[in-house]
């Protein structure tokens, strides 16, 4: 079985999807490491699961709880961990001029 090859463009695309940035050197080093990991998960890609349809996972179907209004966390507590807040909202730099 041929090993799946990963290109530098592919790694850059994944970094973009992941909202992560790497130095050129980190990207280069990532390729062989990532190819080894892909070789591991390729065992699934290449295995036989028959013609079954995807039916369920490990647990019961999720149920919705009754829609009852209850007290939730107060706004100031929600914002407690935010690095920057303003007038009760999460604050980010200006997006539109």
């Amino acid at each position: 079985m041929n090993r799946t090859k990963i290109t530098i463009e592919e790694v850059k695309r994944l970094a973009g999807l992941s909202a992560l940035e790497f130095s050129e050197e980190e990207l280069e080093n990532f390729i062989p490491e990532f190819e080894n990991i892909i070789a591991l998960v390729d065992e699934v890609k290449n295995c036989d699961v028959g013609s079954q349809e995807l039916k369920y996972t490990t647990h019961k179907l999720s149920e919705c709880r009754p829609d009852v209004a209850k007290e939730s966390l107060p706004q100031e507590e929600i914002l407690l961990n935010s690095p920057k807040t303003k007038k009760g909202a999460f604050c980010v730099p200006k997006m539109l001029d």
Binding site: S18, F34, A39, V41, C47, Y56, T58, H59, N81
Partner: protein, 479 residues
């Protein structure tokens, strides 16, 4: 009274009967935490002694609880209101929990005194607790070796007698492997048996919270406290929680023990092989019947996990954007930079690796080949297990290949680290319960672990067998 040698249940009884105070007991463990050089504990909570004093007063006034006055350590990804929960990550270094997780609330309702938070691999991604931003935790039995992971801090803390019990979380073996490496007892309950509300999510469809203790009875007792439905977690099960302690009968006559063909194959030549065979022999000698069973795709549960878990992690960790949770890069000038720079500075190498892998298996062109295929494989494994469990009550297998490895030995080779989880991952993929208990010793005299796996919601059977092995198996465990 020697506090260190008392079991959790004995401690609780001694406190309830006022032979010991919660303050004495808590002080003892807090001091042990502070003096310890295992780096198992990231923070000893400064109100621990005060809480113990309050509990003593409550007990004096008639309070009765299953954990009244008993000190507990929690893993750093479990929320305890007003306390930091950093998940071993720089990203959440200053994150403070705004509410209690269900497991913390249940323990507090029963009178527990939560004394500290334990180190872990960042976001529970790892098998050695070498991936924590806050430094490596050492194995309590040999400080040159890893404690396992990701709940390495919790297992090392219990083995090092820093608390009678610690909570861990297990996504692919993260309670059982460190329990095995530190010679203690750890269970991953049935998926949904314990609520995950207030536990920082890594791979939501397969992870569970569970207790790590020094003996089986304490473990069963703790699970009685932790298990049960939570209105905040619809994946938590509504089935009544049985008394796990009363399922411990001291007898295994008639027990059907599944011997998995694929495990027999996989253990060949491993350090743990002899001890695994001895465990089967011991069970047979004591009235159990060995039954041949097969889960044909057992070995594929490992790569299956390394598709499903990173895929879910990628989505779960999307929330860490530099806006809502504690860290924002000082370098960021606009919104996009807030996301990218905060994440790049905040996450460690292994977390980035798994986010990238998750995006790979979910991205267009690969989704069917990897993610959908893995979910179908999971379905197939569940069917195979159903067939196996129709013939047996439990399946026995090793927890790890051998003794804990040396610190630094596997850090340069992620795939070799991932393969650490070969024997533990299946239970997560299937959603079934599995315990690790010490059985036998390896080449250096360090404990090896044996795993008892049962069908969904059969924790009672597991505890009965585990307790039997613990009480009577000592002689047979000698390799």
């Amino acid at each position: 009274m020697n506090i260190e040698n008392l079991s959790l249940i004995d401690l609780k009884n001694a406190i309830q009967e006022r032979k010991l105070t919660s303050l004495e007991v808590t002080k003892f463990f807090v001091e042990k935490c502070e003096k310890s050089d295992l780096n198992a504990v990231l923070e000893v909570f400064d109100d621990a002694l005060e809480k113990a004093k309050e509990m003593d007063e409550k007990i004096e006034n008639g309070f009765k609880g299953k954990l009244a006055g008993v000190p507990v350590i929690i893993k750093d990804n479990i929320l305890y209101k007003g306390k930091k929960a950093s998940c071993g990550s720089r990203f959440l270094e200053n994150y403070t929990a705004q509410y209690n997780s269900t497991v913390v609330q249940k323990m507090l309702d029963e009178g527990a005194v939560i004394i500290a938070r334990a180190n872990m691999d960042e976001f529970a991604m790892g098998s050695s607790t070498e991936n924590s931003y806050f430094g490596i935790t050492k194995n309590a039995l040999d400080p040159t070796r890893v404690p396992g992971g990701s709940s390495g801090g919790s297992a090392s803390a219990v083995a090092g007698s820093l608390a009678p019990v610690a909570l861990g979380t297990d996504t692919g073996g993260s309670i059982r492997q460190p329990s095995s490496y530190n010679g203690v007892v750890g269970i991953k309950p049935t998926y949904g048996r314990v609520s995950r509300f207030g536990v920082v999510a890594f791979a939501s469809s397969i992870e569970q919270v569970g207790p790590i203790t020094k003996n089986v009875k304490d473990n069963a007792y703790m699970l009685e406290v932790l298990a049960g439905h939570s209105e905040h977690d619809e994946t938590s099960l509504k089935e009544e929680v049985p008394s796990y302690l009363s399922s411990i009968k001291g007898d295994i006559t008639g027990l059907r023990v599944g011997v998995m063909k694929e495990v027999e194959e996989a253990v060949k030549g491993l350090e743990v092989e002899k001890s695994y065979k001895n465990a089967l022999e011991f069970l047979k000698k004591n009235g159990a019947t060995l039954v041949d069973v097969s889960i044909k795709d057992f070995k594929l549960s490992l790569p299956c996990y390394y598709i499903i878990a990173p895929a879910e992690a990628t989505s779960n960790l999307g929330r860490f954007d530099g806006v809502k949770y504690s860290r924002r890069s000082a370098e960021a000038k606009d919104v996009d930079e807030i996301y990218v720079k905060s994440r790049s500075e905040g996450f460690g190498k292994e977390v980035k690796r798994r986010i990238m892998l998750g995006n790979f298996v979910l991205s267009s062109g690969y989704f069917d080949a990897y993610y959908n295929k893995a979910k179908k494989l999971q379905q197939k494994l569940i069917e195979e297990a159903k067939e196996a469990f129709s013939k047996c009550d439990i399946i026995v297998m090793p927890t790890t290949a051998g003794e804990p490895f040396k610190i630094g030995e596997k850090t340069g080779d992620p795939v070799s680290m991932y393969k650490e989880d070969l024997f533990t991952i299946m239970a997560n993929i299937l959603g079934v319960p599995a315990i690790s208990i010490p059985f036998g010793k390896g080449k250096s005299g360090l404990p090896l672990g044996i795993q008892i796996v049962a069908d969904r919601l059969n924790e009672g059977v597991i505890y009965n067998v585990a307790d039997f092995i613990e009480k009577k198996g000592e002689e047979d465990a000698r390799v």
